[in-house]
Subunit: 240 residues, 2 copies
DNA sequence: TATACGATTTTCGTATACGATCCGCGACTC
DNA sequence: GAGTCGCGGATCGTATACGAAAATCGTATA
């Protein structure tokens, strides 16, 4: 993952020594987004503490931060579990991401350089390569990773740090709830790549902010719609 | 403040005893949004702990949660301070709020009842009353409170809990950084009331979601623009 | 007088200890 | 035999204690 700092992490480059609380946070965060800790898994403070060779106090703080980010749920006197089992959660997360990512992409657009565009195109071509050989053993995980890399290039220059962080959080949540949309609806992959081209063209030729936002938002909404169509579900709430 | 639960607060009504960590969180949250703790104020853990008659450990947790919400900033080995001094912070917060509140209002619209509309109209009339007597001693604080009440009615039915929480956080941040826009640009108040009417009409007649979103977003952006025009500043970043 | 250095103080960071709460299992009663 | 009560293990919640880092202030020196 290229440019995807742990959302909310202080991550000051010059920080000499990371506090243990920070270590615990990073370790847990990594375990969760990498999928080593599956959704629903219990997080026992003392066990985590022992594993990292620290006391429970820093671990508690780390868990609280993860809770605020929505990566874990916490119940008083019961404990923490890795969040994200519920499928409606997936819907809400995708919808929120379409909102904030659309905005972030639009706000980034004016600052995106020709090099950025070129880099994004390169990533998109690598995604296309994933498609070609044989539609049958398509690798949704690798494809999704590239997908994030592609979009990262386009939204990382967002000047509004709040919105940018919301985008990071959204992506992290999605990564935590394993199986991306592309696992369920591989057909969507090809269309996605085409929309990426369209988006790049738009940015390249300096299209109005509002238009970039709309296209970026729809791009993600379309992925969500594909998922819904596949599961035969009804959103249960209005679409933006 | 009618419907404005502390964002992210577990707040289960049946929770018999609130943990001390929870108490500390609520107390600090209240102090901050009410303005009793001004932006920039230092939060010394031991002092807060003593004041609440608890140990520092629960206070630390509370501060971490507030940090994740953006109400306080935290520096390693230095301590926590109430966030929100920077004027650019204000810009970013308003911009983010315009994004998420616009969406929340649009998503709520289909669920808004005739009673809701009536309630909102009533609030808007009370706002108008604030205006009438004499433009000179206009009360921006009271006006802002009503303003939040008005908008609360329109976005609280948002079915996406993530987006709704983001809206709450945005409003809380704004409240923390004292002096609303209306303090600086009282002229904006009158126009704001008119836009409220317009928004209500739109929702009442079941306008398309996208239109509601646009109007709600612009309504907030316009307040931001008024502020910028007043300070003579340039956004420094694109507008949505 | 300005500056650099070092001691002191303040405050944070973490470990350890102990009480409180919840959950599961077995015994007792109807 | 089914349901309920009570006990014990597991885990969380918080207090206290001590070490570490940073800020502050005073002093000595150029």
């Amino acid at each position: 993952m290229t440019a995807a700092p742990a959302a909310g992490a202080p991550a000051s480059p010059g920080s000499s020594t990371a506090s243990k609380s920070e270590q615990a946070y990073e370790w847990l965060h990594e375990q969760i987004v990498s999928g080593d800790l599956a959704p629903g898994a219990r997080l026992v403070l003392s066990q985590v503490a022992e594993k990292l060779d620290v006391s429970v106090v820093p671990v508690r703080e780390a868990v609280r931060r993860l809770e605020a980010e929505g990566l874990v749920t916490f119940e008083k006197n019961v404990g923490a579990t890795v969040a994200g089992i519920d499928p409606t959660e997936y819907l809400f997360t995708m919808q929120t991401l379409s909102l904030v990512e659309g905005a972030a992409t639009a706000l980034s657009a004016p600052s995106v350089t020709a090099e950025d565009i070129a880099a994004a195109r390169a990533v998109n071509e690598r995604m296309r390569a994933f498609l070609d050989p044989d539609p049958l053993h398509f690798d949704p995980v690798g494809f999704t990773a590239l997908n994030r890399e592609f979009h990262s290039v386009l939204f990382e220059r967002c000047p509004n740090p709040h919105i940018l962080e919301l985008v990071h959080r959204g992506w992290n949540r999605l990564k935590a709830l394993r199986g991306s949309t592309f696992s369920y609806v591989p057909e969507r992959a090809a269309q996605s790549i085409e929309e990426h081209e369209q988006l790049l063209d738009l940015i390249e030729r300096g299209a109005p902010t509002s238009e970039v936002e709309l296209v970026a938002r729809r791009h993600r909404s379309a992925t969500l719609d594909a998922y819904l169509a596949h599961t035969g579900e009804n959103p249960g709430f209005p679409t933006l």
